[in-house]
Each structure stands twice: as structure tokens, then as C-alpha cells.
């Protein structure tokens, strides 16, 4: 999923485009979250002690609800204003990738059967996790829950990450949140990763800035070209063109048309390499006009949430009520303004290069010092 090797390229060539931050730093920010990706994470990660998904009395999975409820509360508690964007129809161009995925599923199913016969618990768990699939019911459950919680839900006509990017581009939200780096190819100015991860993982949030990436890579606006060459969900890549070659080819020729004309013998263009259409997809994705979307955060409907979560899905009432309380408190907090919306942020005025040491050097010196002290 996503674009191969892009994170490494960014770290190598545009380190200033990537920041890590605690979740607190996003107070007051509106963020569009790729819901499908989060749902998938929840179904994989939220499990009972037996390693199975949580279920209600009638045996339906409820892991996604649990994840959606608590992770959303965590964000709101930290002053973030989330918007969830759900997938519409997959684009036709993705059919190749989707076919591959369903092949892999079939193979995993076989392996699972085998593991079950052998009784290898570890393998069984591994393969069940891989077989997780987000269904329409899961999506509908979450939309219902979110609406009850007063969180805006956007239904994308097509790919959710494209819609997230469009919302961020239009300024309706500050950033897009997804694990999928495709979102940058769709033109999201800021991408957040790990936003919906569990607090227990203690992973800081990764923040990517598109303009700084393009600047660092010395590229023009056409981020889509690089995405296509590196390999995205929509078409195959040119043979023997890895991330490094892809970057240098783009710098040299600026567009894929020219690159194809100048390939070496070894570099073979795959069959049905429909880059023009994919580029179209990235540059003019099928999205609703953000102007038509009205994002409103409302008060949570306590009674309805309790009815849905506790009576229908068997969650503990006290915990859910506590959760709602946190949610209400968090909503109040999100009214807090941010200083950087009043004052202009600049890098430091009298930056002094000389005193900046790299950490390695500092460590070494400290070590020397501490041995001396002994």
C-alpha cells in the first residue's frame, strides 16, 4: 500500500520536511482522517485476551467501534478536531492492485488452514490478522457512532485519502491524516501519520510537509510523477527503476514522457503502464468540492451513544459514560486558540552554527568526561 520507499527518500533528501511531535502539539487543529485506514488498524489491533476480535452478544465484531470511540476521544481530549473521511468506490485503476490483494488473501487463507491443522497458535493469529477485511457494516457502524459523538463524517465519492488531501488543500482542515503516503501525491500540503495509533505505543506523530519535500528533492509541483515511478497502488513500475534511479530520472527529464524515451535496455516499461491516467487520478481526483462540505462539531448525544454502544454492542456502560464525559471536556478545550495563528513563526533569529554539535560528538565527549570523573 502507498508509495514504495518514499519515506526513506524524504529522510535522505528532505529531512527538514519531516517532523515528529507529541499529540499535544496539534491542539486546535482540524484534521481529516482516512477512516478506512483507521478501521483496518482497529480490526487488526484491538483484540481480546484470546487474540480474537471483540464481539457483541450476537457474535458481531465490535473491535472497530471500540477503536473508533477511544482513539477519537484521545484526539478530542488533546484539542484536535477530527473529521473522518470514508472511502467510496475504488477507482477502476486500482483493480490490478485489488486483484493482487485478493490473490494474497486466498493464499493466506490456505496458510491459515494449514496452521489450524497443525495447531500453531502463533501462526493462526498471524494469519487471522492478515485476513482482516473492512466490511460495509463496519463502515456503517462507525459512521453511526461518529455522528452520535458529534464528529463530522465525510463520504468520499472515491478514495478517502484523495478527499482528505482535497480538504487540507482547500484549507477546510489543517492537515490530512493517513498512513498512506499516496495522500501527498494527491496534493495534501501536510500529512500526519500515526495519529490514530494507540497511546500505549508511545509513538510520536510524524508530520510531513509537501512543499518542503518538493524543495528538498528539487522537484516542481509534479509530486505525482515521482509517486508513479516509485510505485503506487494504481499501476506497476518500470523494471529496474528503484527509488534512487526514479529520483534522478525525474530530476533529469522532469516528466515520465521524457523518461520513457530515455530508458536503458534493462529498464522495461510494464504492460498497460497507463501513467497518464494515473497522473490524472492524482492531479484531478474524483472528490467532492470542499466548498460544498460543511464541517460542524456537535455535542455528543449521550443517551443514543449508550443505547448503541452498551445495549446493542455490549460495552460497559460506566466506561462509555466516562468516555463521553472526556469527549465533552475535550470539545471545550478545542476552543483554545493557538499562538501561531496570531504571531508569525520564523526560524530563530541569530542562529549560531558554530555551537551546534551533532549528537554523536556530544555523546562521545560526555563519555570521556564521565570516565574522567571516575
Amino acid at each position: 500500500m502507498g508509495i514504495h520507499g518514499i519515506t526513506k527518500i524524504i529522510t535522505d533528501h528532505a529531512p527538514q520536511a519531516q517532523k515528529t511531535n507529541e499529540i499535544k502539539a496539534y491542539l486546535g487543529r482540524k484534521v481529516a482522517i482516512d477512516a478506512s485506514m483507521s478501521l483496518y488498524q482497529f480490526l487488526v489491533a484491538v483484540r481480546g485476551q484470546d487474540g480474537q476480535n471483540l464481539t457483541n452478544d450476537s457474535g458481531e465484531t465490535t473491535s472497530h467501534l471500540m477503536g473508533m470511540f477511544y482513539r477519537t476521544i484521545r484526539m478530542v481530549e488533546n484539542g484536535i478536531k477530527p473529521v473522518y473521511v470514508f472511502d467510496g468506490k475504488p477507482p477502476t485503476m486500482k483493480s490490478g492492485e485489488l486483484a493482487k490483494r485478493s490473490d494474497r488473501r486466498a493464499a493466506t487463507k490456505e496458510s491459515l488452514k494449514e496452521a489450524e491443522e497443525k495447531g500453531n497458535q502463533e501462526e493462526i493469529q498471524k494469519f487471522t490478522r492478515r485476513l482482516v477485511k473492512v466490511t460495509k457494516e463496519h463502515n456503517d457502524d462507525c459512521k453511526k457512532l461518529l455522528r452520535l459523538m458529534g464528529i463530522p463524517v465525510v463520504e468520499a465519492p472515491c478514495e478517502a485519502e484523495a478527499m482528505c488531501a482535497a480538504l487540507a488543500k482547500s484549507g477546510k482542515v489543517w492537515a490530512a491524516a493517513s498512513e498512506d503516503m499516496d495522500t501527498l501525491c494527491f496534493g495534501a500540503p501536510i500529512l500526519l501519520r500515526r495519529l490514530t495509533f494507540s497511546e500505549a505505543k508511545k509513538l510520536p506523530i510524524l508530520e510531513f510537509h509537501l512543499d518542503a519535500i518538493l524543495k528538498g528533492l528539487e522537484l516542481d509541483k509534479n509530486q505525482a510523477n515521482l509517486g508513479i515511478l516509485l510505485g503506487c497502488d494504481y499501476c506497476d513500475t518500470i523494471k529496474s527503476v528503484g527509488p534512487k534511479t526514479a529520483l534522478s530520472l525525474i530530476k533529469k527529464h522532469h516528466n515520465i514522457e521524457e523518461i520513457i524515451k530515455n530508458l536503458t535496455e534493462k529498464q522495461i516499461v510494464p504492460e498497460d503502464f497507463d501513467y497518464q491516467q494515473v497522473r490524472q487520478l492524482f492531479l484531478n481526483p474524483d472528490v467532492t468540492d470542499p466548498k460544498e462540505i460543511d464541517l460542524v462539531w456537535k455535542k455528543p448525544q449521550t443517551e443514543e451513544i449508550v443505547k448503541f454502544m452498551c445495549e446493542q454492542n455490549g460495552f460497559n456502560k460506566d466506561r462509555i459514560l466516562k468516555g463521553i464525559e472526556k469527549l465533552e471536556k475535550g470539545i471545550k478545550q478545542s476552543q483554545q486558540g493557538r499562538l501561531d495563528s496570531f504571531f508569525k513563526v520564523s526560524s530563530e533569529p541569530n542562529k549560531n552554527k558554530n555551537k551546534r554539535k551533532n549528537d554523536e560528538k556530544l555523546d562521545k565527549k560526555t563519555k570521556v568526561k564521565s570516565t574522567k570523573a571516575k
Binding site: Q336, G337, L339, F342, F343, E348, P349, K355, L362
Partner: protein, 262 residues
């Protein structure tokens, strides 16, 4: 190199104590005019900035502009080792990765020396425009601390209303509400007797809602100064200023809470 001798360690101690819970680290910018820093809290809501002018030190020497990254927790621990009346000498040798602090007891019989490791901090710097505030309140800093503490028991935020009559602080919570009104004191000659009155200077009445959690953090600077200046305009961050004698100041900026209707 930098060498700055501060006659009273207590000033530095109080400054560090008043910011260390708000921001964890900052770059100390040293130039021939003095030492200053600016740092934002991790949620980007509040900013603390401080300045000690070169003439507050005796002597003061800074050959070129320096930016020294310091972790407040470490600095605070080291400063706890200094007596209130000790003299502090802050010393930095060019291209070193440590800052030295020397404490001398008043009778010069005890000299202690500590080194603090410097950090490489990439902090964002906010440029704060010089602005005329619509309303300037000056009041006793201990009174301000007390009000913030009292209202914290009621609610999470305080509404400050400044009018010609005076300044009113009010809070509302789940269990009730409360308010404190300070009237403008008639005369300023109170100050001579160690009592700081309240004065309000205004172009326009101002009403702002602020987070009490942050205000209670700012009040840690109250020991530095008898009075606090609260400079406000509607809809923009508030500035609180505590003067450090006549040699500098510590300022806090706090973004107001915004009624959501955008």
C-alpha cells in the same frame, strides 16, 4: 565567549522556577545587549519570553551572538545548589558544549562550580509584533496569584472583563460560579507603602476568556515582582509582564479561547 556576573542568584533561580513547568527547554540568546530567550509550550498556546539587560550584570561580556540550548529541568537542579545571596557567574567558552555556572558565597569563602550540557534545540521563533493594547491593567502580583488560585476551584477558565470601573475576573463551573472585582484604586501613592493598587488604562473595554491552568503557571513569576502588567486587546493573545527590578522582565503570552463559529 560569554561571561556574566549576576550579583544575586535568587533572580536567576526565580526566573527558571517560573518557566520550567511551562516549557521544558529553550535557546538562551546572548548578545552584547543582554541575555534573553523565547519558548512556547508544547501545545502552542502560551509563550514565555525573558530578558535580562547587560547592565543588570556586573561585569558583562559577550563577544558575539550566541544561542545556547538549555534544558530547564537541569538548570533548575543546578541552581538549587546556589544560595539566594550567592553571586552567579555564567561562563561560556567559544565552541564548548557546556555552560559553566559558578556560585560564590557573599563572604567569598565558598565557591562552587557546575557545568551544564548544552542541547541542540531547533525551536520555532515567533515574531511578536509591537502592538498597542486596547487595555492595560496593572495590579498586585500576589493578588493576581490569589485570584487565579481561587477561581481554579470553580472552573477551568476565567473571563477577564476590563472596564473603566476596574477589572473583573469570573469563572463558571459545573458546581457553581464565582467572580472577583478589583476597583481602580484612587491614588497611586499606595505604592510607596508596599501596597500595589489596581490601575486600568484603556481605549476600549476588553473581555477575554483564558485558561486558568496556564494563568496559574504564570503566577509562578509573582515572586519576581510586586506587580504584574496585563495587556489586553479583544481577540488576540494577552501579554502578562513581570518586571525584574529595572534590569529586565519576564513576559507570558497566552492565546485566548475562541467561541467556535467559523
Amino acid at each position: 565567549m560569554l561571561e556574566a556576573r549576576l550579583p544575586q542568584a535568587s533572580i536567576l533561580k526565580k526566573i527558571v522556577e517560573s518557566v520550567k513547568d511551562l516549557v521544558s527547554q529553550a535557546n538562551f540568546d546572548c548578545s552584547d545587549s543582554g541575555i534573553s530567550f523565547q519558548a512556547m509550550d508544547e501545545s502552542n498556546i502560551a509563550l514565555s519570553s525573558f530578558l535580562l539587560r547587560a547592565d543588570g550584570f556586573d561585569p558583562y561580556r559577550c563577544d558575539r551572538n550566541l544561542s545556547l540550548g538549555i534544558k530547564f529541568a537541569s538548570l533548575s537542579k543546578i541552581l538549587k545548589c546556589a544560595g539566594n545571596d550567592d553571586v552567579v557567574i555564567i561562563r561560556y567558552m567559544d565552541d564548548a558544549d557546556i555552560l559553566s555556572l559558578v556560585f560564590e558565597s557573599p563572604n567569598n569563602e565558598r565557591i562552587s562550580e557546575f557545568d551544564i550540557k548544552l542541547l541542540d534545540i531547533d525551536s520555532e521563533y515567533l515574531s511578536i509584533p509591537d502592538q498597542e493594547f486596547e487595555c492595560k491593567v496593572k495590579m498586585s502580583s500576589s493578588e493576581f496569584s490569589r485570584i487565579c488560585r481561587d477561581l481554579m476551584t470553580i472552573g477551568a477558565s476565567v473571563v477577564i472583563d476590563a472596564t473603566k470601573e476596574g477589572v473583573k475576573f469570573s469563572a463558571t463551573g459545573d458546581d457553581g460560579s464565582g467572580s472577583v472585582l478589583l476597583k481602580q484604586s484612587g491614588s497611586i501613592d499606595n505604592e510607596g507603602r508596599g501596597v500595589v493598587g489596581t490601575s486600568v488604562e484603556m481605549v476600549e473595554p476588553v473581555s477575554l476568556e483564558l485558561s486558568l491552568k496556564y494563568l496559574n503557571n504564570f503566577t509562578k513569576a509573582a515572586p519576581l515582582s510586586d506587580s504584574v502588567a496585563i495587556n489586553m486587546s479583544n481577540g488576540i493573545p494577552v501579554m502578562f509582564q513581570f518586571d525584574v527590578g529595572d534590569i529586565g522582565y519576564i513576559r507570558y503570552f497566552l492565546a485566548p479561547q475562541i467561541k467556535d463559529d467559523d
